[in-house]
Amino acid sequence: MTVRRGKQTIVYATKPVFLGYSTVGGPKEGQGPAGSYLDKIYPDLTMGAKSFEAAERQMMISAIEMALEKASLSRSNVDCFIAGDLLNQIISSGFSALNIGAPFLGIYGACSSFAQGILLAGVLVDSGAAEVVVAATSSHNNTAERQYRYPTEYGAQMPPWSQHTVTGAGAAVIAARGQGPRLELATMGRVMDLGIKDPLNMGAAMAPAAADTIFTHMEDTGRKPDDYDLIVTGDLGKVGREIVMELAQRQGCDLSRNYRDCGELVYSKGQIDNAGGSGCACSAIVTLGMLFSQNYKRILVVATGAMHSPTSCQQGENIPAIAHAISIEF
């Protein structure tokens, strides 16, 4: 039975299995360090679709199909589909759910949606409410830039601390039985606000939330950072990762040995000029692709999300942020 430990942590008694998982990406992601782990690389950003939004959901559907195929399951086996993305009214998820046909729970945790989806899928499976749950998330550079920042044709200058939204999608089939990596623990994050207003400086806005979730996870479970082969945050980029390191040092928590950020892992230095990758797909494709292919024993994935909207930014509100952690054993 699923139980709670400490303030915010969930313990999965049955340790639900990642029975199948798949990642897809755009051309830039394909050329990056995470590229060789992708199951499918689209050579251009339109992906043959009539809009970038249609292209994004095409990626999500394709990731789900491949994840189900790897799990030797079909759409009719899916008891529940959980998905989230960055677009208004999470249309990538909703339209993909129409295609998948399974009962659907739409979620929004911005770029933390990946961990949030896995966390909830684990609860459904662990509690016996479902046998097979698919959790998916996607982001597309052109749809996200248009929605959160500027139309892409406008060609606005980006400061060095800005991040590049990852084009891609990841899907995982979480099941009660089978072979594969296992979901062991999850820590639900709290929304934090440290006064950042610049929508181009997401790493700094999200870093305190990531640090808070990591500290709470360690406190709730009595573990230390060294109990993990790797602790990875979702999409803080260079700027945000340095802030987390500093916050951790102040708390007496040593992250110097095994802490990385998916936003820094997804692209190589020569590919982009700014602080790294971001977006729902960032933590999804790096975790399910690159990290799942290494010889780790146990990793902690802390997906980070900024809970602002363009309207809230224009009205001068700060950017609140959240981070959810999932612990995976191999």
Binding site: T46, F52, N142, E145, T152, E153, Q157, P159, K197, D198
Partner: protein, 117 residues
Amino acid sequence: MGTYLTAFLVGGTICLIAQLLFDLTPLTPAHVLVILVVAGGILGGLGLYDPLIKFAGAGATLPISSFGNSLAKGAMAEAACSGVIGILTGTFELTSTGVTASIIFGFLFALLFNPKG
């Protein structure tokens, strides 16, 4: 009339101011654009922008501040002829070519290329 050198120096300085506003303040590109247009309008209203154009030529007419200057000059010229209502009818007097061209070309290119971004 300006020379290549004065055009480069004045145009470059205007762009440098805009770049510094963007790099050193939390202002967005839209804020910086509006600040330059308004500054050009104020300088034009005070009669200071035309001497700058005389000195620097394209260095002063190309940056967006020149658009603000044209807005102010058009409004003032019409106001001198037909009174207060001239401020409204004259504002786009000098800039109507640019504004109309951007609308028409925007329309034509949207027809041709079906923009997605």
